[in-house]
């Protein structure tokens, strides 16, 4: 495949990128290439050795590597070209890509369309601003996961984990099964930041202390971390000094936030949504720049890889259509986040076709009704910020929209008690 003939260039070879690339080929694009910075395709799935992947997509309970393998195999079968150890260093608004590749040299080319699938990064200690000294032994949970599951190292034997995000809870179990002691999982909110399943299977199962409404107020240790000081927080999430106590440890894992990795998107001039941190997209997953599409965690941080795959297939299909001269969906109806809604993806829809809306709430609430404008509503027993909501709108429901509607507000309202 010659680079000047590339129809669809997919940036990122994780679950999002591979799904997009396969769908692009299936839609009819001839030359589809994936540019992936790591040593092999599959992204972070290869270090996620736990199960829970693919229950919806494949109707099977797979581990990360198995889920990745299915997609990587299919990609090869459908004729997708993969370029590993290839880092995209720039994208221009005119879709000119520059990349440095160990195997292929320095690449510059302009594909007919681009799918952004770079995923997200973890919030670092520096970004979290945790007070204290700067010793060795502090890792983000994902980085620790790579060391433990791929490289063959255990960072330490007495671990404290900040943040009850999924990666943190999964690492709590993983490290326990590798013989380490997890002294505490420290969470600033009154509930966990990840999925309930992980609280049960990772923390309850192993009697790992979960300190809700707590935070770390200081890191101790000069060369290697020796301890952290934790404290309970008040309603304003401020530490209460009188509750401070010291927890000895030799390792600190941070699982306190994921940020869509959009540096390349910014270079391309793509418009970002300040709430999601990712590009604003329409129902075809096209960004504000014609010919540049996006899918997966780079658009908004997902909980289930199954949704990442489905969403990215949309992006891949649309990118292929664009490359083959097709037109995107017409009309721009803005989706507005109303009461207790943090964000909605896609940010705009055409109102013509069936569409799936993904959204998250701001606060945990029980007994609510999700209202999508005047189109439809749905009662939900509980909504949590850590669990994404998914609502499908059928063409019949969309027909209820008045002519010339430019905006639909989504609200999460309290249901009345009788």
């Amino acid at each position: 495949m010659k680079l000047q003939d590339v129809d669809v260039a997919v940036i990122g070879g994780g679950p999002a990128g591979i799904a997009a690339a396969i769908k692009a080929r299936e839609t009819g694009a001839q030359n589809v290439v994936i540019l992936e910075r790591a040593e092999k395709m599959g992204g972070l799935l290869y270090q996620c050795i736990h199960n829970g992947f693919g229950l919806f997509y494949f109707n099977e309970d797979l581990t990360g590597p198995e889920y990745a393998h299915r997609f990587v195999e299919k990609a090869m079968d459908t004729g997708v070209k993969g370029l590993p150890e290839t880092m995209v260093t720039g994208i221009s608004p005119e879709r000119q890509i520059t990349a440095a590749s160990k195997g292929e040299g320095y690449l510059t080319f302009r594909p007919a369309s681009i799918v952004l699938a770079m995923g997200c990064r973890e919030k670092s200690r520096g970004a979290l601003g945790i007070p204290g000294t700067r010793p060795a032994g502090i890792f983000t949970a994902g980085t620790a996961q790579r060391f433990v599951n791929v490289e063959g190292f255990i960072p330490g034997k007495r671990i404290v984990i900040l943040g009850s995000g999924d990666i943190g809870m999964i690492m709590a179990r993983r490290l326990t099964l590798e013989g380490a002691e997890v002294a505490a999982v420290v969470e600033i909110l009154p509930y966990i930041g990840g999925l309930i399943r992980n609280e049960v299977q990772c923390l309850h199962d192993f009697d790992i202390p979960l300190l809700l409404e707590h935070t770390i107020t200081r890191i101790h240790g000069e060369q290697r971390i020796e301890a952290v000081t934790v404290a309970r927080v008040d309603d304003g999430k401020r530490p209460i000094a009188s509750t401070e106590r010291r927890i000895e440890c030799d390792t600190l894992l941070l699982s306190a936030g994921l940020i869509p990795e959009n540096e390349l998107s910014l270079m391309a001039g793509v418009k970002l949504d300040t709430v999601t941190g990712g590009p604003t997209v329409d129902e075809t997953r096209q960004t504000s720049i014609s010919g540049i599409f996006a899918g997966g965690n780079v658009v908004h941080v997902h909980d289930l890889v199954d949704n990442v795959s489905w969403e990215s297939e949309l992006a891949g299909e649309s990118a292929a259509r664009f490359a083959m001269g097709g037109k995107g969906a017409q009309g721009k109806i803005q989706l507005k986040a109303g009461r207790n809604i943090r964000y909605i993806v896609p940010q705009t829809i055409s109102g013509q076709n069936k569409v799936t809306l993904y959204m998250r709430v701001n606060d945990l609430e029980e007994g609510v009704r999700l209202k999508i404008g005047n189109i439809m509503s749905k009662g939900l027993r509980v909504v949590k910020p850590s669990e994404m909501l998914k609502v499908e709108l059928t063409p019949e429901q969309l027909e209820k929209l008045k002519e010339g509607t430019s905006e639909i507000t989504v609200d999460c309202e309290r249901r009345e008690r009788k």
């Binding site: 199960n51 829970g52 063959g152 399943r197 049960v200 299977q201």
Partner: protein
Amino acid sequence: MATKEKLICVGCPMGCLVTLTISSNKEVAGITGNKCKQGEKYVLEEYLHPVRTLTATVLTQGSLQPLLSVKTTRPIPKTKSLPGAIALAGLKVRPPVKAGDVVISNLAGTGVDVVATGNLLS
């Protein structure tokens, strides 16, 4: 007198809160609250015999790849998770191994096999 048991279904990351109705003769009479078919199966098992799929890594020998990811072919009793991990710690696998190959049978006396979830080619 029927009683109700509330359990978090851990069949998938959704974590549905499922209610089991237990009849007076200790039989499970009803299950509600699950969002998918797998959920029913999972909650029954969790109530009667709590089990977990053990996923782990094993050391390799004669390969540049330091570890191979593995899993139990089916869930094992919850109480066997740690003993299972300890049993796996003593293994060393040599290439070639393909995903699905058995790396050890009858893990920690559970009667369950452990298979590779990735490849170890060289």
